[in-house]
Subunit: 343 residues, 3 copies
């Protein structure tokens, strides 16, 4: 798809400086933008790129413009970052959505779908599945029996949804994520571990996004729940019967153990671990790699393994870094103390 | 499937209090059980739920019953938890197993299968594969050449088994787990890393369960082995030539590096890492996020990175938490010592 | 495939001691080699195996041979390890490569492939994909539109490559790895997190190998880049717009956050985490489980979370392990100090 500077400017109510017929063939960040590219400058520290950039068109925040002549065509707007976002969303919309069931998909006769649903090749849709209007199910997805998927969802290639799981509206699930595998529940006996049947499901509420290669286990009984608007990165473990509230962000490779309850608007860092059966309040920040082993109140900031108050952890860690010196000081004190005693 | 209280009671030799024709339409934990549900109470702390629960039927341990009238139908048994497990296992059995090779599966003519094997759509069964009676291979699984799979196994959708790997009887492997990918072996040369061919395989002994999105690498030569009855959670890394014994449990996101040997009945916590070429004995407990970098004897309990005795780690960590105070005390001692010297 | 000792010796210019017609039916490490196996001894500590090994043929470094009679046939060479590697590579070559598009693959009419390309069953090749000569695409792979794949690549079963990603020559990608899923980019608003479109791609340069179950996210704008010859283990997270240079090795379960730039010849340990927006130089070693939160210069060795100089970390950790004793010493000093003052 090609656009002119004039077309772009009209989408975002921009003012053109330069040739309004300049053709745009691609998009790039200003540092690496090349011929034909559209880019943007929204911060003063990138202003130097304006003069010599090789790209075709740059969207610039009005206040960053000066009198110097620009080589690329400029589209001046109030907030270049915001305008650029609007454009990118438009661009994605224009990429078009597929619809219909592709040849080679297996679609059970008892399954039902809304309007404009797309089911890709080699995808299996099992008994009594319901899929809402506009949802895009890519090729090679597995959808177990009695699964419900809402409207306008996107399930990328290789997603697996086990029986009875429920996905709300506007959810995105990236490739090879598994929703509803068995929780890790075994009873020790003298002959070995006996499997505890995992009979619950997973519920994703509306507007949830889950990255690639995540594992969201089904509840033993009842549901594992990911609340509305929560965003989950890649390679994340959510164990059985975890309940996660609204608008949380969880970074890659974090793990949450069984039955833990998490509130709203929390930020969980990459590779953090949270033990089972605890409560995390709201607006808690957990630093990357932390190991949270007790409940956390609203607004806490945690760090370390086991995790403690982040400020405290950092102060103590400074002393840890000086530990060799500190021990030398203790050695000296002991030496002096002994000298004193021997006097 | 619907059941009556009377049918349920007959399965577990229970005594009914209330209407033995009460219909059960689902199962839930007592905290969230709703109309029509079957639940159970096996611990004193849940007894208060008995009176007002909205669910249809509750299985209760005999000793927890009192004289008060109950709203739901009660089935009294000796151990409600155990009886409930028995029921759940029965229920899963009754769900029925599929058999036959579904349309759209690729099944090589040299492959052989036992009775009542199920092969789902879009699954590939390569040359000379052998699959034992009763095994259930879900859709979209890849089984490489010369792979052997025992009896009554379940391989969920998206499992990949590379050439020559061996899976015992009664094993369960969850979606998107990879068995037999190449070990991470490269020789450094001045021009870059040269791949060392990975010619071994993976052997899962009987009764092994592996969660979703795990990576079990093949041996460079010889086998990577997961011993009988060992249970592995999700997103776990088992490197080339690791040997794991019997009846271990390994929690999510743990990783074990190459050629390490692990005994029996160990418990390895979530996100723990174990370096290569060491020995872990039997009945060792490794706390979550620990980094084990030297061999461990039978019965050790480890924590920290690098991991040390867990009790020791916790005691030292208490001092770490007080480090700022401890440094203040040293400052004071130095001040006093100086005062003394200057006297 | 069967070989004689004489055939093997001819491949590696070896000198035979014993029966040159001995048949080889398999390959194993010397500790577990059985009848019919070929093995090798390249280190003095394995010499005792030579006399009694049950295997058929052993390749031995010339300098390790003595006068004692050997039961297996011996092939003497200068460097047994090197000769064995050469053989193993030959063996893999001989396994044969498939070519052609298997029945059941979906291959878009606008896609183009070079000579001797193999496309497995249930693989989807989308619009305008280009695949270079000799590449092997296993079954059940998804290749999005406009993807370019170079020559002699291997993509194992279940790999997902999102639209517009680029893979160089001689790359290997193991099962269920995802290349090009969306970066984790959201703008907080009072109503929840707003998705930032992820419009870039992923570029793997030549000779890159990526293990199983990895997630390599596409750039927000521009590319996430894995440089030439870099080797990546299993279950690894590479976030959006990360740039990794040449000849790095990254061990399992490591994670690198967004926009971080990594030089050449670095070694990153298992489960290590690197925060976003920093620079790692060249020949840096990052120990397993480290949490790197600031830029690192060439040749640094890092350990700990947050990571510091590895030697320093280890020295301080020794004191941490003695923390209880150290606190006792401080208690004593305070007691003595008080005694002195009270004198």
């Amino acid at each position: 798809m090609e656009f002119t500077a004039s077309q772009i400017a009209s989408f975002i109510n921009g003012r053109i400086i330069g040739d309004d017929q300049t053709i745009i063939t691609g998009v790039a960040p200003i540092e690496s933008a090349e011929e034909g590219h559209l880019s943007f400058v929204a911060q003063a520290r990138f202003v130097d790129y304006l003069r010599d950039a090789k790209c075709a068109v740059i969207i610039v925040s009005e206040k960053l413009l000066t009198d110097i002549p620009y080589k690329p065509t400029i589209i001046a707007v109030e907030d270049a970052y915001l305008s650029f976002q609007i454009l990118m969303n438009l661009y994605q919309e224009m990429q078009g959505r597929k619809s219909g069931i592709e040849d080679g998909a297996v679609f059970h006769e008892s399954a039902t779908i809304g309007e404009n649903v797309y089911i890709g090749a080699f995808t299996c849709v099992s008994e009594k599945v319901k899929i809402g209007a506009g949802s895009q199910i890519y090729p090679q997805v597995f959808i177990g029996k009695n699964v419900k998927i809402g409207k306008n969802c996107v399930l990328y290639s290789g997603v697996r949804v086990y029986d009875y799981c429920v996905i709300g509206d506007n959810c995105i699930v990236h490739s090879n994520t598994v929703i509803g595998s068995d929780g890790f529940g075994f009873q020790p006996t003298k002959d070995g571990y006996q499997k505890i049947p995992q009979l619950g499901n997973v519920i994703l509420e509306d507007n949830v996004e889950i990255g690639s290669n995540c594992s969201i286990d089904r509840g033993t009984l009842g549901s594992t729940i990911i609340g509305q608007g929560t965003k989950i990165d890649n390679l994340i473990q959510i164990a059985h019967n975890v309940k996660i509230g609204k608008h949380n962000v969880i970074a890659a490779q974090a793990g949450i153990a069984g039955s833990t309850v998490i509130g709203d608007w929390n930020q969980i860092g990459g590779q953090a671990g949270i033990v089972g059966h605890i409560n995390i309040g709201n607006q808690v920040k957990i630093q990357g790699q932390s190991g949270v082993n007790s409940s956390a109140k609203d607004g806490e900031i945690l760090y370390g393994s086991p995790a403690i108050n982040a400020g405290e952890y950092r102060r103590n860690y400074v002393h840890f870094r000086n530990f060799t010196d500190i021990v030398k000081r203790i050695n000296n004190l002991e030496k002096n103390s002994k000298d004193n005693t021997n006097e």
